[in-house]
């Protein structure tokens, strides 16, 4: 297992959650280095792959070592989209993708700084939550007219915004960064914001070096079939970089979630060792912001929404339907309901719409 980071494998949710919540929280690794050894996995950290030879079936690391393979798994993940024009203007510009990023941002929010976050998605909002809790003056700039527009229905966007505002976070919606000022940013609406630090969370792009050396198109992700096979013989791909068919979305997408990183990898590894297995889990992720635990399965966009429960109670869920298909679900502080909804979606069950609209309807009935 070759990786460019100096760390053994770790899970990324902690980078925007636990590690930002407390100044002394250490990074949690999936296994200690010795445990990989016990599994007969040879772990090479700080070993970026810089070249591949599809014909000879070798990969080479930056320090000149060459590794032969019978089968290769490309799990190179993504890197943050940058706002390069900000980086040369003397502003402190940060991103949040790896352990070092999290440690740096955590240090920065200890000093009650003026933090501007570009991007009102999950990463930006979890970072905003951490900074606000540390007493920073936080402004979030989002180009859409509402938060989390890529994944959430408006009712939940509004709930999240209200929760942040109650913690003194300021939003600039429908605005983008147009330039810098001597002490901050200028926005597309002409206003200026002072900033000690700008955190950019405007999405990610696949790390494509390895795939491109193998002759695989990778700009929008590395295309795989349901077994994780790429177009190159004996080369597989899993995780954030894999472009895979999603039944819920009705198109191929990259799935940038913890659950996909785990479960697609398990399925693809089985295929690589000759145990055929299709992977078609609906995408699922969660976000924690203040006292809100929000989970999303499948696709919430371009669909009819059924509300279950009472928004004002702070515990409810939203089911997304296209025709008679359930294509997505979102839960707010209702993890058990989501556990059922996730199964209903995965099994492509079609309970009657009138049942779903009834709060008394037990979702377990849809799984029988």
């Amino acid at each position: 297992m070759l990786g460019d980071e100096p760390h053994p494998p770790y899970e990324r949710p902690q980078l925007s959650k636990d590690m930002l919540a407390a100044a002394d929280k250490p990074v949690a690794y999936i296994k200690q280095a010795s445990a990989w050894n016990d599994l007969d996995v040879k772990l090479e950290t700080s070993a970026p792959v810089t070249d591949c030879d599809a014909g000879r079936r070798t990969v080479a690391t930056a320090d000149g070592r060459v590794f032969a393979f019978d089968r290769l798994l490309v799990a190179t993940g993504t890197r943050p989209r940058r706002l390069a024009q900000l980086e040369s203007c003397g502003l402190e510009v940060q991103y949040l993708r790896n352990v070092e990023d999290a440690l740096r941002f955590r240090q920065s929010i200890q000093g009650k700084a003026r933090i501007v976050i570009v991007g009102g998605g999950v990463i930006g909002l979890e970072a905003a939550c951490a900074a606000a809790k540390h007493g920073c003056q936080v402004t979030v700039i989002e180009s859409e007219q509402r938060l989390l527009a890529r994944a959430f229905p408006a009712v939940v966007s509004d709930l999240v915004a209200a929760k942040h505002r109650s913690h003194d976070v300021t939003f600039r919606l429908g605005a983008t960064v147009s330039g810098t000022t001597p002490n901050g940013l200028r926005l597309s609406d002409g206003t200026e914001i002072a900033a000690d630090l700008v955190l950019v969370g405007i999405g990610v792009e696949p790390v494509a070096t390895v795939a491109e050396r193998l002759g695989l198109p990778a700009a929008g992700g590395i295309a795989v079939d349901s077994c994780g096979r790429t177009a190159a013989p004996e080369v597989f791909c899993a995780g954030d970089a894999a472009l895979q068919w999603s039944r819920c979305h009705g198109r191929a997408i990259r799935v940038e979630t913890w659950a996909n990183a785990q479960n697609q990898a398990i399925a693809v590894a089985a295929n690589m060792i000759g145990e055929p297995r299709d992977y078609n889990d609906p995408p699922w992720f969660w976000t924690d912001q203040y006292d809100l635990n929000i989970q999303v399965a499948g696709d919430m966009l371009d669909s009819d929404h059924i509300l279950r429960g009472d928004v004002a109670s702070g515990k409810f869920s939203v089911i997304a339907m296209r025709g008679s298909d359930i294509v997505g679900a979102l839960s707010v502080n209702s993890a058990k309901e989501m556990a059922m909804l996730r199964r209903v979606i995965a099994a492509a069950r079609r309970p009657a719409r009138s049942d779903l609209e009834s709060p008394a309807y037990d979702l377990r009935a849809a799984l029988k």
């Binding site: 785990q262 058990k336 059922m340 996730r342």
Partner: protein
Amino acid sequence: MAETVILCAADDVVEGEIKQAPLPDGSNVALYRVEDLIYATADMCTHGEASLSLEGILNGKIVECTFHFGTFDVTTGLPTGMPCEIPLKTYPVSIVDGNVQIEV
């Protein structure tokens, strides 16, 4: 030395549901009824900080933690689905005078 703790009436442990019961040390156990036998495990998922009795779902003998959807076999405590890799502690259960008691 093992200590016997009486937890609740056996009838309070219902098939398909998970019953939480406190231990003297302040932690909790989760009780399950599977094919008419009662099993006891630690209540806290070994992966995340989630209570199986409050947040878990029982299907047959498999409990799913809804925090990260990892699973365990409640009759053995063994993990059956990622990301759970560490077994749940289990406790020997006996029914005495209609009450559930375990050895801790």
